[in-house]
Amino acid sequence: MTAQQIVDPSRIEAELLKIWEPLAKENKMRASLFNLIIFNKLSQRTDYIRKIVEKVVEKFPCRTLFISEDSSAGQNYLKTAVSVLFPGATENAFACDQIDIGVAGANLHQVPSLLLPHLVPDLPIYLLWGEDPSQDHPLFEPLSQLAHRLIFDSEATDNLPAFAAKLLDLNEKEGFEIADLNWARTEGWRDLLASVFQPSERREALSTLSSVSFVHNSRTTESFCHLKIQSMYLLAWLASRLQWKWLTTDKAPFFTLQGAKNRVEAQIQTARHEKLGPGTVISVDLTWENHHFFAARLSDQYHVVKVELSSHESCDLPYHYVLGQTATGQSLVKEICTKGTSTHYLGMLRQLRDQKLC
């Protein structure tokens, strides 16, 4: 990344061109697949969101417009800065523009009009809203109206049912494409569970599941403290897909559900791992009839799980399953940027909203 240059808003494009002049001589290409608008309030989470953006840019070069609101500033201000990002290795032939907007107080309302001239025409516009969308914010509506796709992170919410309700409204009533970083982070586990029950003879077992248990990382950081969301997502996803009915939801972390043939006892537990991301699901445990399924991340390769499947009569040889680098990798970026809204995700959100699971 080139050094950020603070510029007057009227000079944004001109200064970017200046930065590009020497880069063009080095045969760097100015690339952009889409416009990515990012909004967040300045906090410990800002660095985390910047890292997510870096990963997105690494896989899909795009023009980023990064808005940071300083809600603790005692004065109004609007500052703009420009820089050029080099995705991944610096020897890459392409690079892309980043426009930073720092704003506080009454200047907030100037942001949408400031953005408009800097959106690359004819390319999709994605909005990564780094805050809780269920909380009103004056910029949410004008920015979301610009966007073709809204990307959220449920980590930012303190009220999961309200978050779910808001996202469902955005999708069902206003027709927005939506994505969620926490949902993307569970993709590997969902794929694993789907693959376990892929053989036709094992599919019937889904209706006889009797217990499910998830363990997630209890380590917190300054930017991550809502730890059980990924586990809750997996449980609510199973409930949605298998049409379970919730019998008890008030004894968290223990839940009782009614499956097609029998009751399902669900449990969400924690364990502490220093090297894994906060809230990351560490293991999954399922039982049905006389079968037991257990999958846990390897201690030396966290993106790989060891899968064990046994019954009273037999015991399959354990195998390894690559979950993928869902915290930062390509699957995360693809999920949030290129795939349409997941119908499974919407079904899962309905469970969270209707059962007020939090």
């Binding site: 029950f197 892929q198 195998y319 690559v322 997941s342």
Partner: protein, 510 residues
């Protein structure tokens, strides 16, 4: 439950049946350069089923451990991701095995069956099999027959487990040998189990032809005889035949490149929209194109079809030998290393539009391209000294530097109005910023998932041979008079320029 409720259609690509891939010819060049790296990269990206194994089948004696070590060395040399990811390799190599046998030895196949069953029990691979025949074509029928005889190929409709066979090119030497091979194979294999590989179809840019044509209405509406003047398809290589002298002396370039790869490109460019994206719907349309190609006459053989052979010359400033001086090549060889031809597709869409195809070795640069040249705009405006403007050209670059370029005419800034052609260029590498997967990765994965869209169907192969077999017969009966007829490092014989020049056109410079 007939459908897995935990799978979201169109989003997850990882619910793949467990299986074992058996590679025949496991000590050959293709395994080390392409197949092993493809499997390794698929595994590394989590695209292989967790219950998976790969068994190398070959005639040389060696242990599993030696085979694994050789594969690892190949990965370090040829994988698109290097060096080998040690933690991943540690677990991946445990899924690689070696089985020694002669291709005609029943005992070897029985032992293979036993071994695969043991692996099924150990790795839960459930009896599913991919057999990759990376061997000389003469062994295809023998291996398939032995596999069937020893219970390794199941009935296509057996339901609970499956077996599929990937067959490397060349599929036959001419129409009758391809037909005979097909008859031999079909005694033991259903068409749904037969995967005739053409690695060109696994290239992202080739797959993109359909997306480009049918997901962009502006192009499809002008994709016909009303707007298109002609189409040029070029496959140019700067390399010679390398160490493939024996192979090339039997094959020649028409069989090696034109009859298969180039006809696949042609059929994708010229086909009608399929009724859906199923394998059969797409392949039905491709076959219709091949059926619609006007059969060549003897006049064409003498006039609009040119063959060439490279002589000595210079490539990138370095002197190179001629074809006849290459290793394992006859000093009087009449094998072609260059072909240029014109053909017509006699259907409504392409009535009267010539398709010019050329391919050659030891040309100035490497490049595969499909160029669609549009008809001129009416010349009443913007004429300069009676000179016509350049036509619009849409060029689909297949390799290298994959992308799409559009040539349009623009006004040069200033008070007068000179017009200059400019290029709008889309480059995969710049936009998507990552190397696309190797063609073999995609094709092996497709075979494991049972999708044969990107594999040639028997009738496609037959149609193509039907078209070219009379030409091959003519060539065999009429040896060329002036081989070698182009110098290495040039764009081929002068006659090829004259052939297209007669139509008032010229070959594109790549």
């Amino acid at each position: 439950m007939s459908v897995n409720p935990l799978v979201e259609a169109g989003r997850s690509f990882r619910n793949i049946d467990p299986c074992i891939v058996v590679i025949f010819g496991a000590t050959g060049d293709l395994t080390g350069r392409k197949l092993a790296p493809a499997l390794y990269n698929l595994g590394r990206e989590g695209m292989l089923p967790p219950n998976f194994a790969c068994v190398g089948f070959a005639r040389r004696e060696k242990t599993h451990e030696v085979f694994r070590e050789e594969i690892k060395n190949d990965l370090n040399s040829f994988s698109r991701t290097k060096p080998v990811d040690e933690p991943f390799w540690k677990t991946f190599q445990e899924k690689i095995f070696y089985h020694r046998s002669e291709f005609d030895d029943d005992a070897g196949y029985k032992a293979l069956a036993t071994f695969l069953n043991q692996l099924d029990a150990k790795l839960s691979t459930r009896g599913n099999r991919v057999f990759y025949l990376s061997v000389q074509p003469k062994f295809f029928p023998l291996i398939v027959e032995k596999l069937k005889k020893n219970g390794l190929i199941y009935d296509a409709k057996s339901g609970d487990k499956w077996s599929r066979v990937i067959i490397e090119k060349p599929f036959g030497h001419n129409f009758s040998s391809a037909d005979a091979l097909q008859k031999d194979l079909s005694k033991h294999l259903d068409e749904s189990q037969t995967y005739r590989i053409d690695h060109y179809l696994g290239k992202e840019t080739v797959q993109n032809i359909l997306v480009f044509r049918f997901a962009n209405s502006i192009f499809e509406s002008v994709w016909n005889y009303k707007h298109i003047d002609h189409v040029q398809i070029t496959v140019a290589e700067e390399i010679g035949i390398g160490s493939r002298g024996h192979f090339f002396e039997e094959q020649g370039l028409l069989r090696d490149i034109l009859q298969n790869h180039m006809m696949q490109l042609l059929s994708l460019v010229a086909m009608e929209p399929p009724v859906n994206l199923s394998a059969n719907a797409i392949r039905d349309e491709k076959v219709k194109v091949l059926e619609s190609i006007r059969r060549f006459s003897e006049q064409d053989f003498k006039g609009t079809i040119l063959r060439g052979q490279y002589g000595p010359g210079f490539i990138n400033g370095k002197e190179v030998t001629g074809y006849r001086q290459e290793k394992d090549v006859s000093p009087t060889s009449n094998i072609e290393t260059y072909v240029a031809l014109k053909l017509f597709i006699d259907n409504w869409r392409w009535a009267g539009v010539p398709f010019y195809l050329r391919c050659g070795k030891r040309l100035p640069k490497r490049g595969t391209e499909i160029a669609v040249i549009f008809k001129d705009a009416p010349g009443v405006l913007f004429q300069q000294h009676g000179k016509k403007h350049d036509p619009n050209v849409l060029a689909l670059r297949i390799q290298p530097d994959e992308g799409i370029a559009m040539k349009i005419n623009c006004k040069v800034p200033g008070p007068s109005s000179p017009i200059q052609p400019v290029k709008m260029d889309f480059r995969y590498g710049s936009y998507f910023g990552q190397s696309p997967p190797e063609a073999y990765e995609r094709l092996i994965w497709d075979c494991i998932t049972g999708d044969n869209t990107l594999f040639a169907r028997a009738d496609e192969v037959a149609q193509s041979w039907k078209l070219y077999t009379p030409l091959l017969d003519f060539w065999a009966a009429n040896p060329p008079a002036s081989f070698p007829n182009y110098a290495s490092g040039t764009w081929g014989p002068k006659e090829a320029d004259a052939m297209i020049g007669k139509d008032g056109k010229s070959w594109r410079i790549l």
